[in-house]
Amino acid sequence: MIEACGLVKRYGSTVAVDGLSFTVRAGVVTGFLGPNGSGKSTTMRLLLGLDAADAGDAKVNGRRYADLPWPLREVGSMLEARSFHPGRSARDHLLALARANDIPGKRVGKVLDLVGLAGVAGKRAGTFSLGMGQRLGIATALLGDPGLLVLDEPANGLDPEGIVWLRALVRSLAAEGRGVLISSHLIGEMALTADQVVVIGQGKLIAETSVAELSARTAGRRVLVRSPDPGELAGALDSAGARVEHSPDGSLLVEGMTTESVAGLAAARGIAVHELTPQAASLEEAYMELTRASAQYRPGVQPGHGDRTRAGMKGTRP
């Protein structure tokens, strides 16, 4: 188990991590989400003791990382890609790290097999593509057969096949009882991989919840109605106090009324209804809504789609 408790990290006058607390449990994939620059990588560096926290502490299985008796056997980590010397072969890189924690040399061949680098184990790692470098990073994390993993954007640079592979790998790690903290700025990927999510913005915790709960928060806020007479229905809904939006395909998006009350209203007015569906906001929308206030880097002008999303999300803040 990893426990972050009130972590603070400042770089000069910038507060990169601001009183952050969360937990990573065994057997659970915890997605670590936040916009670019929100402090995910810094937090992971604090967890591993690479950077010293200005306040708060991080415990791994009850100890500070620096006090772990065999760090690689307890926590496997991959921070930035390319945490290896370009002049050293993948095999020697892993072997050197294995020696430091008295991990048997045969484990090196096993993790190289596992990440699909067995064929290039003797090649200098500097010749690797971004995706291969990423796989070497994952092999490094798995080297000590650890019960906990900390992976910073492991999907970066992987091809679609690699991303599917990574997802299956992470799921199987959790199924074996390991705890995984995996950062991403893409919630779509996390929705498929993670059980829990920790969402941060500007170094602060925004939400610590399950993926299911995050979806549920925004489910049922809107109702899609399809009717042969959308104009009349829209008028009726509008006068009943709902906000109605016309979609290009002729359907209506109704906000502020449940499916039951929309159906009741249509029946009372004798308007035929062909479809009536509660709309779950996508996780992307939920995530963007959560992090909007704290996104540090975003374009000054939102495109039209963003505006529509924003309008559509009104009132969905929990």
Binding site: G87, L95, A100, S172
Partner: protein
Amino acid sequence: MTVSATATATIPPGRYRLVHVMRSEWTKLRSVRSVRWVLAAMVAGTVALGVTDCLVESSSWASMTAASRARFDPANISLAGLAFAPLAAGIAGVLVMSGEYGSGLIRSTLAAVPRRRLLLAAKAAVLTAVTLVLGEAAVFASFLAGQAVLAGRAPHATLAQPGALRAVALSGAYLALLALLGLGLGAAIRRSAGAVAAYAGLVLVLPYVLLALPGNPARFAPETMLASSVAAVRPQPHYLPPGWEGLALMAVYAAAALAAGGWLLSRRDA
């Protein structure tokens, strides 16, 4: 897909120790070309320069003045490569640390070995062992080859002569201390270019600056102590006497650099 052989990995008792980290550092040292080349250059350059100097000196012996002949130190001449070897030894030492920062390997290393002073100690131990063996090999080879060149054409030395063995053996050890100075600077400065520049400044440039000052403080500079005292059999005017003094002072310099490097390493964010 099963990642471990057993569902629950067993963690052995105890904890990682210096010996584990030394094995790790030895694996690193032998598996990167740059450091291997620099160390090979140290050995080859030492021997080549020593032999060349012996060739030059042996041909000029016949025309030397009596005063020059009185100062003639065949052991010291065959160790002329010590004008070059310190650069290679120091760069090797710098690279052992700065190579980790330049590549990002430091993140993987500190994840495996979060006790940073222990890491530096392991690096120092492995570097000392390697540079001591190679340094001794370089100076003994240089001495023996150089004396073979001098023999017959000019006075030459043997290891049995007073002071000769000491001069040769301590010169090899001195190279290990210079490598440690480089390691300390690498840990303190972290960037290869900056650390090599700082090392070259201390070892190669500083003596010339100090020579301009009264009282010849240059005799305490790392490179001059090596060439004019440690590697000498006959005392040279204005320099430390041949013997252990220079080696001891150099050990103090190396220890100071390592202490500073270790202090910064343990205090700074990686």
